[in-house]
Symmetry: C2
Subunit: 376 residues, 2 copies
């Protein structure tokens, strides 16, 4: 078994880019990752995509002159990109392949107008319980319990849009106030549009290989995948809390860490503001019920004790489903190398990536990938 | 690293079954595989499917009371099911998981009417070079070179439909003559409808775990995956030949075998008659250019020297894309246990599975998985 390192990362710009095709977006990400790693060949490729056209990886690689290497495509809802990373990591760790490219691709603007179309076979989605409504239920419960206030929900959006001011590849950014966030168009009560991730096009990639101790290598300390149980009505927690908590415990154990508070910077799945709040609690960065207060107090902002989503997160960088996990990984890699520019977390040495993929049907459960990384 | 065995297999019926949903089909396959293995739990699941639907595996497993285990979905065109098998094998081999379910699912009848819809971004398919046309070009070239005759092409269909008379789960079967095959409706000259695989619904599954030497275990001697180069105009061979030859060489080397002729029974990817002919040559079962003659002479029939597709193959059992590879694996498992009934290859001890997934675009290459198995 080999210690595995991220040797290079790359991403496209994120945003609505219907004029560019998925292959062009992926080309940007892969070319940058290969250049970053200082290589022009890989031994295998794992691709994460949810809706993205068959053969997109092969066409991208052909355009880069990389042909004849094994290509495996994985789908795991919003965690597809992180699942591609996890499988690439496993392949290098076990010596199956020497140098592996993990690539996430999604072009949503040409596939959907508005929200993702419900699966016709899915009773929850047919009944209106699409993901914005699902997260809105979590937010409503937190409000009911007094575990969060509307202003605390909005604080997550304010923070992540402000972080994204320093991320030139982010889809959206801005200096919003809590009042502006709360006053924006309602999507699923209590979540306003500025509390929901946008429809995004983008790609992100990483080159993984055995760790050699190089000065720009980011070592994978541990990584874990869980798939969720059917929605557990006996759990006191909202949807997603339990799987994030348990997957984080697996990843921390693999990394030899006791708690997520040992980590200096994290990128988490903030598809909606309540998502980031629940996730910071489930990770153990803050106590249960304290996530909203932490966001409002700046604990999770750049300069705070536990900076969360310095990239702007899904809310601001964007959420091209299959690409998201590898965009998160790229951000943490830049952070741990000290290359994150105006959004750099000073002295970041340990980082964590968390992505939760919601099932098409709530009752079908979900998936979560967590990885812990260490800078050079 | 553990030696890996197939401990149980199962399949649905194959055919047009629009009245049943994909979950019901998968349920049949998984339930049978678990019963066959004598287990009711697995530690992880790999699912192969091309057209979905998302969450189908999770819903199937929930119906069987299996929740909370990692589920990974892979897509690799027609080789999706065999890719799920390969990844499950790798997970057991490296000790990542103890007991793994590989599941292939596809319901095509409700997704398409007629041929698979071309990707709008794909110039070859837009131009008419869908898979029947592609295979027809291979057949036309073989005819031009004198490497096959129309009657030899038809002999593959006659053989596989006759084999399927002994397979109660096959979509089609029949005692056809060469003249009937050649006289059936033309699809893509020279391939008539009886030389083309049908649109199918079905599922197949296998339970993999470390080999313990049990009396019903079928050991995985070796398995390999390749993704194809861009169509190589400098190759003297038709599309697919080179990748099948090279992947077979990898799998035979992993199995410690010198040649595919050491194997007693094979299931190959006969999506079209010419496909089986080219594949038997690329495998090395027969010399190059001798595949058609071998089929016509009964060499590849039940009772022949090198029986090919005793199940009826894709042409007769059917071709539910993501399920096909695991249906092939189930057939070889039954053969190596001596449980194949009227289509049993006497004394079969070594078997081989080959699946080739065509890329959406010819220029994007393709994928091939080959596995070598050994009976108890």
């Amino acid at each position: 078994m080999s210690a595995v390192a991220v040797h290079g990362v790359g991403t496209s710009h994120f945003g609505r880019q219907p004029e560019r095709d998925a292959i062009a977006l992926a080309h940007d990400a892969v070319r940058e990752a290969l250049t970053d790693a200082g290589v022009d060949r890989v031994d295998a490729v794992w691709v994460g995509t949810v809706f993205g056209p068959a053969g997109v990886a092969q066409r991208t690689l052909r355009a880069l002159g990389i042909t004849g290497v094994p290509v495996l495509t994985v789908e795991n809802a919003c965690a597809s990109g992180t699942t591609a990373f996890l499988e690439a990591h496993e392949a290098v760790r076990t010596g199956r392949y020497g140098r592996v490219l993990a690539l996430g691709i999604e072009q949503m603007s040409t596939a959907f107008s508005g929200a993702i179309t419900p699966e016709p076979s899915d009773p929850e989605q047919r009944g209106g319980l699409a993901l914005p409504a699902l997260y809105a239920m979590s937010a409503a419960r937190y409000l009911h319990l007094g575990a969060v206030t509307p202003a605390e929900l909005a604080a997550v959006s304010v923070k992540n849009h402000a972080h994204a001011l320093h991320n030139p590849r982010a889809q959206y950014s801005g200096s919003y106030t809590v009042e502006q966030v709360l006053g924006s168009r309602m999507i699923a009560d209590p979540l306003t549009v500025l509390q929901c991730c946008p429809t995004s096009d983008g790609a992100a990639a990483a080159v993984l290989a055995p760790a050699t101790g190089g000065p720009r290598e980011v070592r994978v300390r541990g990584a874990a995948l869980r798939s969720g149980r059917v929605w557990d009505h006996s759990s006191p927690h909202v949807w997603g809390y339990d799987i994030v908590r348990d997957t984080t415990a697996d990843a921390l154990a693999a990394a030899g860490l006791h708690a997520a508070t040992d980590v200096d910077v994290v990128e988490v799945h903030d598809a909606f503001t309540i998502g980031e709040i629940v996730t910071t609690e489930a990770l153990g960065l803050v106590p249960e019920g304290a996530g909203g207060k932490a966001a409002a107090a700046g604990v999770t902002a750049l300069g705070g004790t536990h900076p969360v989503n310095p990239s702007g997160g899904l809310l601001s960088r964007g959420h091209p489903l299959g690409a998201t996990g590898l965009a998160q990984l790229a951000e943490i890699t830049w952070q741990l190398r000290g290359e994150a520019g105006g959004r750099q977390v000073d002295g970041a040495r340990l980082g964590l990536v968390e992505t939760m993929g919601g099932g098409v049907s709530v009752l079908d459960g979900n998936a979560c990938v967590v990885a812990v990384l260490e800078g050079p």
